[in-house]
Symmetry: D2
Subunit: 447 residues, 4 copies
Amino acid sequence: VDAHLVDSAIFGANWSTPESHALFSERSRVDRWLRILQSLGRAQADLGIVPESSARAIEAISIDEVDIAKVADRTRETAHSMLGLIGVLQDVLPTDAGEHVCYGATVQDVSDTSASLEIASLTSLIRRDLLGIEEKLLDLAERFRDTPMLGRTHGQPGAPISFGFKVAGWADEVARNIGRLDQGVERWAPAQLAGAVGVVAFHGPDALELRTRFAAGVGLTNPPITWTASRDRPAEFANFCGLVAQNLARIANEIYNLQREEIGEVAERTSGATVGSITMPHKRNPEGSEQVVTLARVIRSLAAVMTEGMVGDHERDGRTWKGEWLVLPQLGHHILASLSLADALVGGIEVDTDKMAQNLARFGHSESQELLRRLSLRVGKHAAQSELNRVYRAVRETGTPVAEQMSDMLTAEDLAGLDTPTLGAGPEMVDAVVTAARLRREAEQTA
Amino acid sequence: VDAHLVDSAIFGANWSTPESHALFSERSRVDRWLRILQSLGRAQADLGIVPESSARAIEAISIDEVDIAKVADRTRETAHSMLGLIGVLQDVLPTDAGEHVCYGATVQDVSDTSASLEIASLTSLIRRDLLGIEEKLLDLAERFRDTPMLGRTHGQPGAPISFGFKVAGWADEVARNIGRLDQGVERWAPAQLAGAVGVVAFHGPDALELRTRFAAGVGLTNPPITWTASRDRPAEFANFCGLVAQNLARIANEIYNLQREEIGEVAERTSGATVGSITMPHKRNPEGSEQVVTLARVIRSLAAVMTEGMVGDHERDGRTWKGEWLVLPQLGHHILASLSLADALVGGIEVDTDKMAQNLARFGHSESQELLRRLSLRVGKHAAQSELNRVYRAVRETGTPVAEQMSDMLTAEDLAGLDTPTLGAGPEMVDAVVTAARLRREAEQTA
Amino acid sequence: VDAHLVDSAIFGANWSTPESHALFSERSRVDRWLRILQSLGRAQADLGIVPESSARAIEAISIDEVDIAKVADRTRETAHSMLGLIGVLQDVLPTDAGEHVCYGATVQDVSDTSASLEIASLTSLIRRDLLGIEEKLLDLAERFRDTPMLGRTHGQPGAPISFGFKVAGWADEVARNIGRLDQGVERWAPAQLAGAVGVVAFHGPDALELRTRFAAGVGLTNPPITWTASRDRPAEFANFCGLVAQNLARIANEIYNLQREEIGEVAERTSGATVGSITMPHKRNPEGSEQVVTLARVIRSLAAVMTEGMVGDHERDGRTWKGEWLVLPQLGHHILASLSLADALVGGIEVDTDKMAQNLARFGHSESQELLRRLSLRVGKHAAQSELNRVYRAVRETGTPVAEQMSDMLTAEDLAGLDTPTLGAGPEMVDAVVTAARLRREAEQTA
Amino acid sequence: VDAHLVDSAIFGANWSTPESHALFSERSRVDRWLRILQSLGRAQADLGIVPESSARAIEAISIDEVDIAKVADRTRETAHSMLGLIGVLQDVLPTDAGEHVCYGATVQDVSDTSASLEIASLTSLIRRDLLGIEEKLLDLAERFRDTPMLGRTHGQPGAPISFGFKVAGWADEVARNIGRLDQGVERWAPAQLAGAVGVVAFHGPDALELRTRFAAGVGLTNPPITWTASRDRPAEFANFCGLVAQNLARIANEIYNLQREEIGEVAERTSGATVGSITMPHKRNPEGSEQVVTLARVIRSLAAVMTEGMVGDHERDGRTWKGEWLVLPQLGHHILASLSLADALVGGIEVDTDKMAQNLARFGHSESQELLRRLSLRVGKHAAQSELNRVYRAVRETGTPVAEQMSDMLTAEDLAGLDTPTLGAGPEMVDAVVTAARLRREAEQTA
């Protein structure tokens, strides 16, 4: 019962959250299946398909009456995913009502509807967490809108940016993910009432009305057609989780790198009790950042299984569908863990603006672009670049300072102020991102 | 020059299309880069950043003046992706204008803008092809709305559906992909004007106005902030292609299986000249279907590279970005090939309704669900199921016919008409899908 | 504690085995870590690095004395993976010995050595299971060495093979996997004693001797150099599991397809209590086969995470290494489940040789290759093929029998015996595979 | 013809090599197919299956006589992969010999044998390149055996290692890959002679003798049984390429990070003509390193397609097999490009030992492990660690130097020499790796 790391008391917290455990515990899943059967019975009674008394008896069952160990035993005996639960429910129901539980529904009706409820819950938690992260990022972006630091490309110091500009780029990506979520959720999580092969033949002429009521009862959208074989719905959700996880991993990866002591511009907050290393007592490791990257790798790989599963045979394909039984909950654990860790990361980030300034001054010839710009005005852009390529090669090889080499090409005036970082349009772009996000957020709050 | 299968004269047509070659040939890419530089020059001249005469000279260059072999030589010499082209352009430009070509732009400004133009073109071609496929599917769904065939689950014959119901499920998935495209495209393909590290510092105070004009000039959206490090944009497009490819592969996989001679319900159309096998002259192979499945696997794997690439360092990461240079065109070739093949498949599908009827009669006890329904009314659902499980086990083991075994439980009347397939709500769902799609399509045409 | 499907009482058995639970339960992992610390203490005492009394006290601890809940609490408090366990061990040790537990070792020394022990155990279980499966396959191959059935290519009936030939192809692949295992295992699972950054500096001049003794103590190979950052070792194992899983999935996929009722040549054995469907009582689903395919997809995706993790930073990279903590146990659960299911599949396979004969007679013009051979002798190979392409097109389109069409090209004698399946060199190849495997197996048993 | 980046004159060199182009050009592939057909004809003539005169005529054909454009046209007409070539060969052969070309062989016999020849060539080139890289790494490991630098874990400065120790870890991984290659190659690349469905029925009783001679003729191993459906053979090769690519990418990733100007310990060699950036003239980018990482990502993803393809239907599955037609050559281009770039990287690496020493002194409290060791002798390991955790937290927060804080716990003598890096057993491990590799290499040279 604790043979997967998600369920480990010692290590589970790195891979899941209390909310993901509440959502995916065995009891919670059985309870969800029970509530689905209750909604089905209710809709069927309202349409006269089963007696009202049966629906009421089914609705009256509490998860506390369901002996999960017995469900497990009977599931193994019959090698059927639902008969265990049906049998145990029949035990606690009057005989007649027992015949009406799971009336005409297939396993996939229950399991897909349950999966859609899970996806709906996850979507809502993900949205909440993305909004929370976005808020922290917007604050950071504003706070450090004009704080100069080195921009880096190809891992090398380049020209100046502001830290707020960097953060605004993260926030903009988060905003796109909120947009994806808002557009995608309508496709991800409909109810399923397919019956044996999808045409809901068991329920007679009221079948589609039954599906409409059932969907309303469980609180999900009513699909235009059975989707037992159309797994693009959960696959799109899984791919969305992949984008979110990678978004967060990019932020975490950046913190990991900027926290390198040789750079030292930002750091994860650590609590006083945290121990970095038991062999190197000075160590302070960016373990939260690392874990967000790790989670993203696992999430991406699970999303790939879901996407692969879109190609299945005929009206139902166990090879695809059962894969989702494993993958969706695991995806749920990991994406919530990732969001939770990322929230702590961006909420607790320590920013060392002095170090940023020092690095700007020390490394990377952050003046080179500005110098190129100025020299371009004199000699042309590409001529300037050739010249400066030569100049900087000489800096590297002989150490001759730039100014000295340039003295016959540029006046002292031309060379003035080169050490003042030019932030370009960075701050304006911060404003654009922040303003758009704040407007959207306010509109949502007042809606 | 023909060492990748996409470029093979013999086999390339299975992996690409004339349109994908037109889009991604070397000449075409160089031409696109040239046009981007022309748009940039125009916008810069309009803002007074470069002289009007330079912009005009740059605009006047034709791709025919660009010696691609020379571009290649200089690219290798400098190990820089753009200097080759810039040098060759300088050769054909007046000295002054030569200094203003690619003025202050980085390679990624050009290559990202080019990639966005490619994505925009691909998106438009994909949309056209999805609409074409949808049209054929809607026709098929209507035509075979009431044509009974076996529904199959777990690879086994189950209860009846109609062929139109199956096709409507495909069409509904295609419609969702059109929806995804229409929502996603605004995020996928903006212009890029980032400069050295993203803050467009080279261009001074007019930088954002320059970007606005440049984006308009190349016909792309203007992003709120630099996205050199935010690769969720192309990654989302790649994942979308994965969903489309899997959608098509599901259709193709179904044709492959239903074309099995033992089933024989549908077949790919083949031309008279087609040869199936050189060792088994009777063979008629579903090679188009197979190829659509194969393409989907490659497309998924390329999409995974794009998604992985979302996590990069700092303001530009060559490890990610250069991967896109390879992956995006290859993805484009394959998705267009897949759409083209799938269009031929669904356009030429041969449907054998007699064989469908025969299989319904011969295999799968397609009456079993209906029998369960009727017996359920007498003895209860789960009791009926237990009983029928026993009955069908006896059928398998002893061959005793169902009716004979049931004679003491059901009257002759109860057993009547069991061999008439019950299509359930299948045809109604076909109508729901077709109606919604036709409404959307008509609205679009009149718009 | 049961929020991952592996740990579900109801469904866990599809994804794991009792042996995988025994190996990867929390208690089992803590016990393994404890035994590693005991081996370390012993080796250190023998070299005089810690007092003999401390080593003895550490060796005397039983897992029953370890309060796992307390380990969990302290792990969370310190955010350090080992301090929880160390603290609890110190609680039960004399003060002095408490200072010597985990003396100079890092978390990764313990966790990598533990992972190697897990890999070693898994390797041994996998080998046992592969041998068991191979045995059943060799028996089947021999038993059905000369049993004709349709060979199929591109999903279409082709020319005859024997069922034994098909099975021998599976067995040959299993044999290659045993070969891969025997060659690979020496690389997969060495001990780790790296210390802080890999050079084992804490332990002074005896460091390498200590590692030699420690490796012997835990029963693992002694690597030439620290491999904290060389994750090709576990990655190779994961990729090997991928090959095994796909090998088994190919067998399962074939059973799934041959069990299609329209083909009906083989079937999974089902027990009397098994229920196929609760809506279609006649159904008999190949659920074991499906699950083996599903498991292979998850296993492949986990192996991809391990391979991706080979690229890490510097001397230890948490992003890679922590991923293995999750992935390796999950891989272990799934590969053992896959082997167990596959063993049941091939052990219980029901072969319907009558149906094989019927299908040969009914479908696929299995005579076409032989006819091509005979006609080739008269008119040349390619001329014969063109002719026969025409003939069979006419069969499809007009129904004119082959013999009738050929009467002016071939004599009655030429056409005689065409309906006797030609098994070619199939049976000889069965012998080659079986003989080689039996020789290897006997050599192993007498060794 | 240049619509894939591999075939681009401008950018192809980043993704392929002259050798990969020589191996995979269209002409080269057609020539290989021709030589296979010649070997087949020869073996058939020797066994009296075709006339000697036909074999000789076929053997006499030169690739120069084959009109590839015509092959392409006829391939498209027939939609058959081989009929185009067969037809063109028939054009240049006497009628009789024309009937004997590709006598009884299927497309897959030719294409699989061709793929095995490609794999054999690639394997040999990979081995050569791995040996070349290993040599350079062994030299580096020896040269910098005792050169101290910071070891880093979790991206943070830790304790000292030597640069030679780091390099020896790379070399050890390369050596394992050479070992994998030497063991795997016997499985990767056998000849194929399967005929229609695998039992080689066309060729009569001499079929297996024919296969033996054919395999010898093409210079490949003779498999025990047909492997048209056993794709573990090429999949294992692809996974091997994945391990090699990741091995190289780990080295490249390390160079990328150590070349960060803030670290500056190693750098890629650049030629005088190389230009790093056209907007930041001072930039020197690790583009070779980046590309090696990028290539590994694509290679891994292609290997995943091959592994997925192991699960196919029946005796031949076009969905799998045709995927290999695309994937294997692309894999070949990329792995050779990766090896070539990696060879240049390790051959041209610039090592700044001064910077290593400075970083050791400046960052990371590289004395902390040694201090822990010394204090452990006084107060016990874990007590020492707690104490030092406190000490270093104070260093971070208040700046109080370590020595000052420790003055009441350790004597001046205890604190002496802490700034001399302790290399531990690192140099000895370098020796172990280098010695083992040199012995293996010398044994090979004298063999």
